[in-house]
């Protein structure tokens, strides 16, 4: 099998099986839905307060952060079936994969290395698949 991501003269070529693309789309859509659900662990993990000295963050900052999280996920969904990405799109995929990874970890209540070690095989595979995607995309962009 060829590399899932590799640099070409015109961008980053993507060679992913359709089944994997559908799975990634599902992860992105789940992360996007959970992050706007108040009380959901994904919302707390990705949009928790950043100024620990204040009672709550500035509403404008909260809005900026929501855009910073939702934007990459939406742009990934819009390009999920692409076979060639620009450098900017590939960077957005890294951000989206990283957001999906953090969302999955929050859903699985993973907070420590011991939590990761205690995961069942299928749950661990969810995390390692996303980590592999991030690592391979970084390699392709840095090549």
């Amino acid at each position: 099998m060829s590399e899932p991501f590799h640099r070409t003269a015109t961008g980053i070529a993507v060679d992913l099986p359709d089944e994997l693309r559908r799975w990634l789309l599902g992860e992105a859509e789940a992360a996007g839905a959970d992050v706007v659900t108040i009380g959901d662990p994904v919302h707390h993990r990705l949009l928790g307060p950043i100024d620990l000295s204040a009672d709550h963050d500035d509403p404008l900052i909260e809005l900026q952060r929501q855009f910073a999280v939702e934007g990459p996920l939406e742009r990934f969904v819009a390009t999920a079936h692409a076979t060639l990405l620009s450098e900017d799109e590939a960077e957005e995929w890294i951000r989206a994969f990283q957001l999906m990874l953090a969302a999955a970890a929050a859903r699985l209540a993973v907070q420590t290395d011991d939590d990761v070690a205690a995961l069942k095989e299928e749950a661990a595979a969810e995390l390692t698949t996303l980590q592999a995607g991030i690592s391979l995309l970084i390699d392709a962009l840095d090549a």
Binding site: P49, I50, L52, D58, A68, R95, T112, Q131, I138
Partner: protein, 95 residues
Amino acid sequence: MDGIDTGLSGSTDTLQRIDSPWDVVLWNDPVSLISLVVRVLRKVFGYDKAKAERLTMEVHNDGKSVVWTGEKEKATAYAVALHGYALHATIQPSA
């Protein structure tokens, strides 16, 4: 003469706090790859590879690291940028 209570003492405290430096603290998490954290620190702060790697290893080994110190507005913007990569960052008045 006794001092006049201007009612501004609280405001002065607030001004001092805004002018004082703030830290951006990056917290460890068990799933983010070291290579990703190094890449993001270089991209967001413009750090060279050696500094980004040193800070990343501080986060990994100590659980957190102060990755930038300066004015509050910039500290907030940096924390927002780190959150855009799902990295857990907070801001706090610098010690």
